[in-house]
Symmetry: C2
Subunit: 197 residues, 2 copies
Amino acid sequence: METLERKPRSHEHVRAGIISTARKIARQEGWQAVSIRKIADAIEYSAPVVYEYFDGKEVLLNAIRDEGFTYLNEQYHRIMKLYRDPEKRLYEISLIQWDFALHQPELYQVMYNLEGAYCSVPVYQSDALQAVSDTICEIIFSFIPKAKESIRRLYFEWWALSHGMIALAMTMQDVQPLEQSEQTYRESMRQFVRRLR
Amino acid sequence: METLERKPRSHEHVRAGIISTARKIARQEGWQAVSIRKIADAIEYSAPVVYEYFDGKEVLLNAIRDEGFTYLNEQYHRIMKLYRDPEKRLYEISLIQWDFALHQPELYQVMYNLEGAYCSVPVYQSDALQAVSDTICEIIFSFIPKAKESIRRLYFEWWALSHGMIALAMTMQDVQPLEQSEQTYRESMRQFVRRLR
DNA sequence: CAGGCACATTAACACCGTTAACCGTACACG
DNA sequence: CGTGTACGGTTAACGGTGTTAATGTGCCTG
């Protein structure tokens, strides 16, 4: 078993290729256009090979979704280390959310089943989402030490406001320029954070 | 053949049957389970018949979406006749939005391409959406007579807040009870309207 | 009776997700 | 050395999808 050293690496390479190809197709043609065969063609394999790495399309989409939440979580922690002020933290994280959604729209779409993307695994089952939620709740708590239920409510409001503006801005970007939507987003999130005082 | 048994059905009846069948399947199994053949089976026709009424799935979905916006528009006008106070009007319309989304989720999903529903026709091309938008903007203007751009911005905020909370409440309903989400929704919308004063 | 018309169906094409069967190669072992 | 076997990958197939062309079928009219 000398070749054990090389195999896993190429294995990981192929796996990453599948994911990045799926994302590329989704970004260019929408999630509706992503098919196993198209992915297989792009990585120059036959379709069944994909099933060696993911037990079906569901699992592949779920893996990509998880990648999204994990990335988001990393960005959150970057902000947490960068700032200490809770107000600044929450505002900066709001901006992270915007940048993430607009720079990697295909990820944001599969995370929330937007624009034809469909991953039947419930989003709330993702551990990474749980981590993301906890981070936000922690920030809110740090300058509004209320009851746990009250915190959850504020978190829900923050999330809804952010998600709603992002989702609408994405679908309306042909009729309302993104710069304008972004300005409104920043202002709204700033006001939300301000109101928490 | 046995075609004698089938009762003659009017054009409108069949058309309505196609739409209501599509909605029924979508409601029970999700939009990604809706297929032309399944619809045809349910209305006891062969698949090509559907194409006599709608030039492809796209057009069918778009028609259903339009039905949604039209219904919403009717509800809006009902509220407009019922109340004169702008504050009351906007709040009641917010509640309409919630009820609509939760009682007819398959409509709300196809209107905004949620949960696997996908209608490639841009939503902003719907005349009914335009009418809905105008109604909201009119209300906002009636008690905040600012510049047109400012009104559009407030409308965008109202819409995003409503849509965000509804979308999240729908996807999270297994982990957060709808009654709780509804309470938060009402409170948030109430505060939003209040802030407009 | 022939023709045309309206309606509906069958058959086909090119895809899709998924799986079973197969094939060649390289390595391990008798 | 020969042989078996495990592995990496393929082809082929099944049932399903959207969509369209060709084909009936019954009925009304000239």
